[in-house]
Symmetry: C2
Subunit: 351 residues, 2 copies
């Protein structure tokens, strides 16, 4: 069987985790759910299946240092530095070139760096199911059976197999729905949350770029010989920065057929904002979840994060209270998804 | 005219200002309303009337160091250290002995250390009116015309003078009322808040102790010769700790006649808890008041205190948010008066 390579996508700013996440420390590198950062959790989860030499970290130049610090087990040459952020199509195309250089027959498993997974064992079983079902498919996607009518996620419609089988044929990708539609999806049983995890042969992915994103593919062809030089080359930055900025969902997934979906056997959350912590952490008797030292008196349903010191809440409900880097955030859980509005008001000094 | 001595009473813990106020730094020593602490404000306000040599600071032994640090202009011998806290009767009796030692004919103006006064000029005018009206009275009290039906303060009922005069004869002292009664007091125009500021001749005060609190007076008589030794004497602590623990209101004021009340010409607040800051600080466009660096987005009616760093509120109303010593407090303004319940839950580590 072909060797499996993992691409961990660690881009993004994470303004929705102010004051913890800032340009210097975006979401994947924050210890949001315990002592380890989200990307450390992601690597620890996959490492029993894949040796560090076959784990690539796709990263922006400003976060290379923190990434290498947090992931000392990953070889230096496996940090794939994107000169600029150009969304997931360019990210995965660039990584595909790097995998091709090492192993033309390799498989690529693309993973977001910063999601919550409830059960690492079940997670690896699900990926094994994907590997077993890749043969004969364009690619494999991993779907999460919805547990609430979420309007913040993309969905995947799949067809329940006539006979009991692990893989469901994908019918189509669906953008974020409105609330009534999300409620229908929840009820149907055929709609899955798009986990952002993809599996395919690296060769197939490059062929998909050639067919469906010829402009991006042309850029990749220009980049290919430059990577072989194995030294930093300003030409790489120039070409990369001109690649189309488009997500892999829009650029490839929505256009192709022959995909299979593996329903996930684990709990999942994209940890999109502070309020998400409630779904990933155990709550106290008052229904509060917390990281760090806290005292919640006559308080319920709060999400508390104390990087240091102690956060004390008294007589409040459903608030997010965060203390980090000497800064304090207080907002209702229901506003946590809109935190970019606050960050915009803070201005550059407080980022 | 007899010389005026000022006694600034700086006892008390101030648990209602956690996490700023702790045993080590009680309320008078906190810069709650600006760069200066409340006791610094109090001294600065009275100093144009009274030289530092005639200002005595009544203080507990654990706060002597911070008091001397904050008030370098006050002579060392003017810090009157109470061996233990025994409420305001013992406090003022002890200070009366110290004034007597310096000037048997002196007047005593007793001032709480930690109140808010809106207008220092008007404040001094009001005290001058008190001095002018002391002759022939047992003592002078300063009353605040209520601006809300406050149930947290004691009241003084006084009789409007038949002809226009500065001083109103006091009818009686009244304990904290219930809400309907407080509303009647507010409507009447004859009920004043007890500001806790008193003026009398020092000799009269000692005579009042002799008549109305003979047990306490007996203790003072035992203390008198020991103070003349002008050195620390464990006997002072022993006698002081046995003085009756009772407030000057209960011990003297409620029992005596011949008091006059001067209606205050200034805004006043006892700054009893975090929510009180709202009445002593100017508010922003959203109706929030703040000390320190803050950003309030879509927020209204909040009281924010940032000792360092920045406090950001987003989409919340009527909350107290405090950051100090690495600790964070979040509670509704309406619960600020009950903060002792939170402090009790925190335990000694977090005090």
């Amino acid at each position: 069987m072909a060797a499996l390579y993992v691409v961990v996508m660690a881009g993004g700013r994470g303004e929705r985790f102010w004051p913890l996440s800032m340009n210097k420390l975006p979401k994947p590198f924050i210890p949001l759910l315990g002592a380890s950062s989200l990307i450390q959790n992601t690597i620890a989860r996959i490492q029993p299946m894949v040796p560090p030499e076959r784990i690539l970290i796709s990263i922006g130049p400003t976060h290379l240092e923190i990434a290498r610090e947090q992931l000392p087990q990953i070889p230096a040459e496996n940090f794939i530095v994107e000169p600029v952020g150009r969304d997931t199509s360019a990210c995965l195309g660039f990584c595909a070139l790097h995998i091709e250089q090492r192993d033309a027959e390799g498989l690529m498993l693309a993973l977001p760096a910063d999601h919550y997974i409830s059960d690492a064992e079940a997670y690896r079983c699900t990926i094994q199911m994907g590997l077993k079902n890749l043969d004969g498919a364009t690619g494999v996607v991993f779907g999460i059976l919805p547990v609430r009518p979420e309007t913040g996620y993309g969905y995947i419609l799949a067809e329940k197999p006539a006979v009991r089988a692990d893989a469901w044929p994908v019918i189509r990708f669906i953008e974020k729905p409105d609330a009534p539609t999300a409620a229908q999806y929840l009820a149907s049983g055929n709609y899955f949350w798009n986990s952002g995890m993809f599996l395919w042969s690296n060769r197939t992915l490059l062929a998909l770029f050639q067919t469906h994103m010829p402009e991006l593919y042309q850029g990749l062809c220009e980049l290919r010989p430059l990577l072989k030089e194995n030294k930093s080359n300003p030409e790489v930055g120039r070409i990369f920065s001109q690649l189309p900025r488009i997500s892999i969902d829009f650029g490839i997934m929505e256009k192709i057929s022959g995909l299979r979906l593996i329903p996930a056997q684990f709990g999942w959350d994209d940890i999109g904002n502070w309020a998400s912590l409630e779904r990933a952490l155990s709550s106290d008797a008052g229904g509060n979840v917390a990281q760090g030292s806290y005292v919640a008196v006559e308080s319920s349903g709060c999400v508390i994060y104390a990087q240091s010191g102690t956060v004390a809440t008294f007589g409040v409900s459903d608030l997010v209270v965060v203390q980090a880097y000497g800064k304090v955030l207080v907002c209702p859980k229901g506003k946590a998804a809109d935190l970019k509005r606050l960050v915009a008001a803070l201005g550059p000094v407080n980022e």
